[in-house]
Each structure stands twice: as C-alpha cells, then as structure tokens.
C-alpha cells in the first residue's frame, strides 16, 4: 500500500471526534479511503426514509432564489468585490440568512458577490468587469500586477511560439486555460474533517523534513517551496474558519462539524483558486459515517441529517467566479462544476451507496432543480436495486444528474495504478483518485478542422491564413481516402506537438504564478499528474472520412484553391448507428490521436490522457469550422462530446449508445461524453415503467462498456416555452455534455442547438 507514513504526532491526536470509529490504518496515516472502508455501511433499501426540507432550509433557499433572480436580472453577475484579490482569508465572513444557516461560509462577504483573481491575469479581470458593467479594479491592484507581480497569463504568453498562437487564433486548438484558471483539481477536503488542520500541517512539515540536508536540486527546491506554501495555506484556512467562529485545527466531532469542516476546506480552495471546474469530490460515504454515528446516538434526527445535506448543497449551488464573455460562449450558463460524485462499488464488492447518496439526490426535490452541484452517479450494474431505481427516478424527474461507468473506471490503470474505489470526477468526466492524483487540464484540439487542414494543405478554410507550415493542398476532383489519411496523419502529428507545447507552457506557468496551494495541501506529496488533452469534432471527422471512403466526395474550391464546400455523391455509413464501417473510424481516430500525444514529453512527467468531451463548446467549434466532407455546412455546431452527428443516428438511442461505447476508455482516460435526450412518454407508459426501463438502459449501456451518459428527459415544447418565457422556468435544468445548466442561462444559439439536437423518439 503506498500510503505515506504519518508524522508520529498524528497518533497523539486520538481525539474524541474518532470515538466509535473502527479501523487502525487511517489513524496512523492520512488514509481517508481506509477510514471509509472500515466504517461504511451500505444502504440496500429504498428511498422511503427520506425527509423534506426543514423550515430553516426552506427560508434559506427562498432567500437564495431571490438573489438568483436578481443575479439574472442584473445580466448574470450580481456583484463583484473589485477591491480585494481573492484568497483564503481575503474577505470578512459572509452570510445569506445567518439565523437559518446550519452550514456557513461564502467566497466573499456576501452571497453571489464574486471575487477577482488577478494572479491569473489582470487583463481578464478588467475585461470581465467591463463586460458586466462594473467599476475597474482599484489603482493599487493594477499597480501591483503591472509593476511588481507577474501573472499566469503573462507567463504563458512569454513562452508561446508562433505556431501555438496561430492554432489558438484559428481555433484548431480552443479553450486553452491560459486566460482562466485550469481547475479540475480536487483537494481531499475530507481530510480536514477527519484529521483536523493541525495534523495535516504536521504531516506537511514532516514531509518537508524528508529533504532536509538533501542536495538542493531544482525539483527538491520546488517541492520544499510548495510544501512551505501549502503549510501557509492550511494556516490561513484555520484563520478563515475562526472568523466564522470555528476552530478546525482538531478533527470534526460530529456530523454537523464534519460537513462544516469539509465545506470550509472546499471553500478555502475555491477562494484561492480560480479553477474553471472546482469539484468537491466523493464525499457521501464519508459524511454518512458521521451522520450515522450521530443518528445512532440519538444526537440528530433524519430530518436534521437531511438539513445538513440540503444546506451543504445550497452552498455548492452558489459558488461563483467572474468570467469573460468569451468563456461563457465556450462554457455556457455560468458553470462552476462543483462536481459531486456518489455511489460506485468498493473494490471488495461492497456498494459505496449510503443513505447520504439518497439524501444528496433528495436535495433536488427539497430545493428544486439546479445544475450545481454537478451530481455524478458512479454507476455499476452491481449497485443495489433500490438505489438504481431512485437514481433513475431522479434523472427522469430532474434531468440534473449524470451517470458514469464505475465498472469501467474502477479497474482502469492510469499511470500504472488502478483508479480503484476512491476516485472522484472533476468537471464532467475526468476521474482522479482523490488526494492522490490531479490533472493538468488541457481543453481540446479540433479534429474536424485538422482534417480540413489536411485537405487544404495547412491553410485555414475560413481565413485563408496558413496555420500549418510545409504542407501542400490535395489536388484532384474527388478526394482519395488513402491520400487524405496520409495528410491527415501529418497534420495530427504536427498538431499534437503544438498542443503539447502549449499545455506544458500553461501548466508550468500556472504552477509558478497561480498555484493551488490549499488543494495541493490536501493531496499526497507524491501525486500522480495527468496531462488531460482532448478532441472535439470526433463524429464530424469520422463521418467525413467514412464519406470519403464509401461515397464520392468532391471539394468545391474557392479562387484561392481552398476547399470551402463539398459535394457528396452516394451514401455512406455514419457514426452512431452501431455499424462498424463507420464506428471503427471513430475508434481509430481516438486511438491514433492518443498515440501521437504519447510521443511527447510532458511537464512534471505528467501522464498524457485525453477526453472526448466538448461541454457546450461544440457550438463555438462548429462556428469556427468550415464545411466538412460529411455534408455538414460551414458554421453548423458539432454534436457534443462523443455524440453522433445530430440526425445521422437513425436507429434509435441504443444503437447510438453502442456506437459511443466502442470508443475505448483506455484511449480516452479523461472521459468520453455522451448526451442522450428523451421525452418522458417514450421511456414507458407509466412512471414505474419509465424508472425500470431507464435503469435497465443504463445497465445495458454500462454492460456494453459505455463510459458516460447524460440523460435528459424533457419535452421539446417545454424548452421552446422556456425560451420565450424564461421567467416562468427559473430552475429548469438540462444536461449538456458532462454538466448541467440552467436552460434559461444558455445563449440563444446554444438553446437552439439543444433543441435541434435529436430528441430520440423512443427511450
């Protein structure tokens, strides 16, 4: 077991907080998973024990709902704390309705008031403030960042080379976290509750002591500095909590403290890091142990247990970051990806389903719908029936949960280590072992555009600008498959190199100028890092290649000789119909690009992975990509993630899902996203049938080794009405490629994209 030995001082922290807890390993080492293993009690029953919201919760949510309305009316941002750069202790305590808050803590001194993060880059802060109509930052802050302190953004652009800039401009690589925080790091916030901050500081100091007297190489010095900063962050966390009246230096002593300590840890991390996706991790089995202990001791009732969960969820719903409009176009609806992973199986065959998994899902009924936290159900065909049914019911009723295949992830080795049973999802589909693994988030490369570069000799089809050097365009009236494939291989070789260079630069500078001290303080020292790259336009590229192979595709060239349109004679098999003739192309593209990425060297020896995920950027990618050989007109949105192209999947959603399931997780270890939409009536005739049918469908998809399924169960009419009367649908939630959004906060373009997308007539 690779659990680091703890400083002996931890053993003396045998606190009353641990009374009644079993197990020994976790008392000697920081090993939350071992604590869960020793103390978790699975819930095999149904949802009948659940309780409604407490009066306090109801009042609190009412207050938040009012603020959310004001936020929308104000154009998306309610208020900004422009005076102070965000940090763990930067702001005075804030409350929503203090008398009703069972769990406290806000990012700034008021709810929904956003902080600024100038360490990432002053330019983005100023741009966001201007775009949302707020006063610019005070002169002092500007002076600091103009004259004394370099930002992440500046660092990145200092090292970018011309090819990176060209790719970024043309959109063949889009969404790079060089102008926003990278996110997708999950601190093990449970550690704060289980051990208290003092023990964690002691552990860090002990780790730093390991290199006392060692040769001070660059990596040793980096590690020592990072640990020193992590200790400071932990000290700050204690101060932040003290300001709210809590001493979190010692372990949490009861359920309420456990929730509060854990949330403080998360909040501190969210105040320090401007991460695009700031997941809270896999916390239900952990918290359930505390809740069950208090329930057994008669200290709390089920209603109070639910209240704790509901109030934590309220806090997760109001996490906010100030973003630019550009960011919103890519990732629409103001998402924060407070991803909360639940369920899954233990490696020894016990379900990690607890009553608290149910309580978390129940919050969607108690508080109404919400896109955040991003509730992610780690699905296994072995999960207890009672939970499967409740999860399916919640999916049908709310369209606010997603399912990811625990049976595929658990055994998957990443960097030589299986993900096991204590991983969590960051953002949408990115699995990482909690506290042991983190990722360098890397957006995505546009494979459809890359294919056009292969045809056009590296010249961008929209601008006519040469992006890739040294390639000549394909001549001839009809595209030849082998010739296209050869060129396409060359383009991908080149693109992979540019892409890796950009990401190495970004993460080197991010570590340097905007480090996530607290998140990393809640990780093991020897953390596994992945470089999480991604591809967009998979279905478009696959269909285009299928068309070139099986039909006759004639490029229509403009005066400059650039193919700006394509004429297709004949039919071709399209990805998404469970037809290997097309699906294999998608599989080979995914594997091929991954193999190309693996040839490179990665910053901090990160293990390269990739995702097939677009989030809502499928719209922007489509806009920035010319007509493609599959028959897609210029500018038309891509399908999201690994979805088949809209309308080309003709055999129903199981066939589509089976096609998607062929994309091997081994070649896309950062996740493969599939979004399926259905109307309630087509899932079955009665509510009971719908629940059973959906649960069976998810089982079937997972058996076929499908990775991820976003389920929307909605009527098209509801969405159309919501577009016209947003005020009547303030909480309408819909799943989009790995996360959920408040439908009315999508851009109109994206709303239309969602509506046009195949609403599968059945199931």
């Amino acid at each position: 077991m690779d659990i680091p030995e703890l400083h002996p001082r931890l053993e003396s922290v045998l606190h009353e907080g641990w009374q009644g807890f079993r197990g020994e390993v976790w008392k000697r080492q920081i090993a939350v998973r071992e604590f869960i293993r020793a103390n978790h009690r699975p819930h095999f029953g149904d949802a009948s024990f659940l309780q409604g919201p407490s009066a306090r919760t109801r009042r609190l949510w009412e207050a938040v709902a009012g603020l959310l309305r004001q936020e929308r009316e104000r154009g998306g941002v309610l208020a900004v704390s422009t005076e102070t750069g965000s940090g763990i202790t930067s702001h005075a305590p804030g409350y929503i309705r203090r008398e009703d808050e069972v769990i406290v803590g806000l990012q700034t001194d008021a709810p929904l008031k956003r902080a600024i993060f100038p360490k990432g880059g002053l330019r983005m802060v100023e741009q966001s403030l201007a775009e949302y109509g707020f006063a610019p930052v005070p002169e002092t802050i500007r002076t600091i960042f103009e004259h004394y302190r370099k930002s992440h953004n500046e660092g990145v652009f200092d090292v970018y080379d011309p090819e990176i800039l060209a790719c970024r401009r043309s959109g063949v690589i889009t969404g790079l976290p060089d102008a926003y925080g990278r996110g997708r790091i999950i601190g093990d916030y449970r550690r704060v509750a289980l051990y208290g901050v003092d023990a964690l500081i002691a552990e860090r100091r002990s780790l730093k002591g390991d290199t006392d007297g060692a040769e001070f190489t660059e990596s040793v010095m980096r590690e020592r500095e990072e640990i020193a900063e992590q200790v400071k962050a932990l000290e700050e966390l204690k101060i932040m909590a003290l300001a709210y009246g809590f001493d979190i230096s010692k372990p949490a002593a009861n359920a309420r403290e456990a929730v509060q300590w854990l949330y403080f840890a998360y909040l501190g991390a969210a105040k320090e890091a401007n991460g695009a996706a700031t997941g809270i991790g896999r916390i239900t089995a952990f918290l359930d142990i505390y809740i069950e202990r208090d329930l057994r001791a008669g200290l709390i009732s089920e209603a109070e247990a639910q209240e704790l969960v509901d109030q934590l969820i309220i806090k997760c719903r109001i996490i906010r970051y100030l973003r630019t409009r550009d960011f919103d176009a890519l990732y629409s609806g103001d998402p924060t990806w407070v991803t909360l992973s639940l369920a899954g199986m233990g490696t020894e065959g016990r379900p990690l389903v607890s009553k608290t998994c149910f309580r978390v899902l129940q919050s969607l009924y108690n508080l109404g719908l919400s896109p955040e936290p991003n509730l992610t159900i780690l699905w296994s065909t072995s999960l207890p029936e009672g939970f499967k049914r409740f999860a399916a019911q919640v999916a049908i009723d709310t369209s606010a949960v997603q399912f990811e295949n625990d049976d595929v992830m658990r055994p998957q080795e990443v960097g030589g280590v299986p993900l096991g049973d204590d991983y969590a999802i960051a953002c949408c589909v990115s699995a990482m072992r909690v506290g042991r693994q983190m990722q360098f988030f890397g957006a995505r490369a546009n494979l459809a555009k890359a294919l056009l570069y292969a045809i056009n000799g590296g010249v961008d089809e929209l601008t006519g600008v040469r992006v890739m050097p040294g390639l000549t365009p394909i001549k001839g009236d009809v595209l030849d498959y082998d010739e296209v494939m050869t060129r396409f291989g060359q383009v991908q070789d080149w693109l992979a190199g540019v892409y890796v260079r950009a990401l190495n630069a970004i993460h080197y500078m991010h570590d340097r100028y905007a480090p996530e001290r607290l998140m990393m303080a809640l990780h093991d020292r020897d953390v596994l890092r992945t470089m999480a790259m991604g591809i967009a336009g998979l279905s478009i590229a696959a269909d285009s290649l299928s068309a070139i192979r099986h039909a006759r595709v004639k490029p229509v060239r403009n005066a400059a000789g650039v193919a700006v349109d394509f004429e297709i004679e004949g039919d071709y098999p399209a990805y998404g119909n469970n037809d290997d003739a097309a699906d294999r192309i998608a599989v080979e593209l995914t594997e091929g690009f991954m193999a190309r990425l693996r040839r490179h060297r990665f910053y901090r020896n990160a293990v390269p992975t990739q995702s097939v995920l677009t989030i809502t950027s499928n719209v922007v990618y489509g806009k920035k990509t010319g007509a493609t050989p599959c028959g897609r007109p210029a500018g038309q949105p891509f399908s999201p993630g690994a979805n088949p192209t809209n309308g080309r999947d003709r055999n129903g959603w199981i066939a589509a899902g089976f096609s998607v399931a062929k994309i091997p997780y081994a070649a896309a270890q950062d996740g493969i996203s599939w979004t399926a939409s259905s109307t309630p009536g087509s899932l079955g005739k009665t509510p009971e049938e719908r629940i059973v049918n959906l649960a069976r469908c998810i089982d079937g998809f997972c058996n076929a080794r499908g990775f991820h399924i976003n389920v929307n169960v909605l009527d098209r009419d509801t969405l159309l009405t919501a577009m016209e009367h947003p005020e009547a649908y303030p909480q309408l939630t819909i799943r989009v490629s790995g996360y959920a959004v408040n439908f009315i906060r999508l851009t109109r373009e994206q709303q239309l994209d969602v509506i046009t997308r195949t609403f599968h007539a059945s199931c």
Binding site: W653, R696, D699, G700, H760
Partner: protein
C-alpha cells in the same frame, strides 16, 4: 390475400428499425418495422410502410445479426418487437426470424399486428412468439371497412383464435375523435375484448396528426385526418374506464 410460404421465406422487405423503443411491448425493445400493409387506416402514422416492395430486401440472417448485436442488452432490458406495416404479410420471413432470434438469443419476441392474417397461420408458427400486440381498429363492421378498407370479421376471428391458443395479448386501440370514440362502439369493443381470456392489458393510444408530413410525401393519398385534433384527456380517461370497468388492465 395469400400468405406465401409461411415456413420458409429467407428474405423480407424491411422498412427500418429502432433501438430503445419502450412503448411497443414490455421493457426496452428492438422494434423492427416491416414493409407492406393490407389495411389503409385513415389515421395510419406509418403510411410510408404500406407498400411492401418499397422496403429494403434483407435476409433473415442479416436481420438476425443486426438484432444479435444487442442481444445481451435486450435479454436484460426487454426484447424484440416485430411491427410494421403488417408483419404477417411477410409471415414466412417474420416466422423464420422470430424462430432464429428465439433459438439463438432467447429474446422475448412480440408481434405487433392487425391480426387479419393470423387465422391463416398454423399454431406452430406462433411458437417463438411470446406476446401479440393486437391492434383492434373498430368493432363495427361497416365502420371498420370505412376506416381501414378491410373487413372486420377476420380480425375478430384471429383475436379469438389467438386467445384460444393461450397467446398473451396486449390490445391496442387508437382513439380518434369522430372515428373511434363513439361511446356505444367503445362499449361493444370492450365487451369483445373482455371475453378474450388472455388479454393482459389494453393500451388506449391517443391519435396525433404528427404523421401529416408522411402523408403529404406520398403521391395519390389523401390524409383525411389532417385537421383532426388529438382526443382530450377526459375522452382518453373515459375510454380507459370503459375497459377497466370490465376488469381489464389499461395503459
């Protein structure tokens, strides 16, 4: 109309298939739409399946292989529903396919039929069929003729024969305002259905005119129901109650 070679046809005309259907039999199903139908129902929502030869000619083996890709899924989730068109117009192909799918994968097989030709098939033809979704259009012979352009008697005889064979039945009744919602007729239909001992449920399907675009695309046919509204929820409830009053389970 003849039912050619009920035992052995190796090829059939297939319109399309849909995976994931959850409203054509129990669970989640592979729904195979066969081409060809002898009825010309005024309210048909798949008129594009009427002409047999308009379909894609496929072998039993090809079709079974398509279905087989989903066998483990369908075993757990539901099964196969053979629909149409009228699948019994190609009884040779359909029978061979049903047998093969049953033998190879053990799938639950449902047959969605108007019933008119069921009487001409030998009992053993139905061995691989687990459930018949029987579409009863109208109980009055003249109205049935007007609505479907075919006689009623063979349909009712088939229904009784299937029931005698012990075949589980789901009766499907499309509720069309002005055509099939007359109270007296519904009562008579319910009386008839209640006397079929193997009926497991009655599905009252509200008419919708969403197929108008399919009718428009077909030369030489007129969609008489283009302006017919969907039935009201009250009307639906009333018709369901009529079946339920006879102890029938409705959906």
């Amino acid at each position: 109309m003849p039912v050619a070679d009920p035992e052995g046809a190796r090829t059939g005309y297939v319109h399309s298939y849909e995976t994931g259907g959850a409203v054509d039999g129990p669970g989640v199903r592979f729904v195979l739409f066969m081409n060809g139908c002898q009825m010309r129902c005024q309210y048909c929502h798949n008129p594009d399946t009427w002409k047999e030869k308009a379909g894609r000619l496929q072998t039993v083996a090809q079709t079974a292989a398509d279905i087989g890709k989903y066998a483990p899924f369908l075993q757990a989730a539901g099964g196969l529903t053979i629909s149409g068109g009228e699948p019994l117009l190609q009884a040779g192909f359909v029978g061979a396919l049903a047998r093969r799918v049953k033998d190879e994968h053990g799938l639950h097989v449902a047959l969605d039929t108007n019933g008119a030709f069921a009487g001409r098939l030998p009992d053993r033809w139905f061995d691989p069929v687990d459930l018949v979704l029987l579409d009863l259009k109208h109980i009055d012979p003249a109205r049935h003729q007007a609505l479907t352009a075919t006689p009623l008697a063979p349909v009712l005889e088939s229904a009784q024969r299937l029931a005698r064979m012990g075949m589980p039945l789901w009766i499907r009744y499309v509720l069309v305002p002005g055509w099939t919602d007359d109270e007296a007729h519904v009562e008579r239909m319910a009386d008839f259905v209640a006397r079929l001992p193997t009926v497991e449920r009655v599905e009252v399907l509200p008419f919708h005119n969403m197929a108008a675009y399919k009718w428009e695309a077909m030369a030489g046919s007129r969609y008489a129901l283009a302006d017919t509204p969907s039935p009201t929820l009250e009307a639906e409830a009333r018709v369901r109650a009529c079946f339920a009053a006879r102890g029938l389970e409705t959906a």
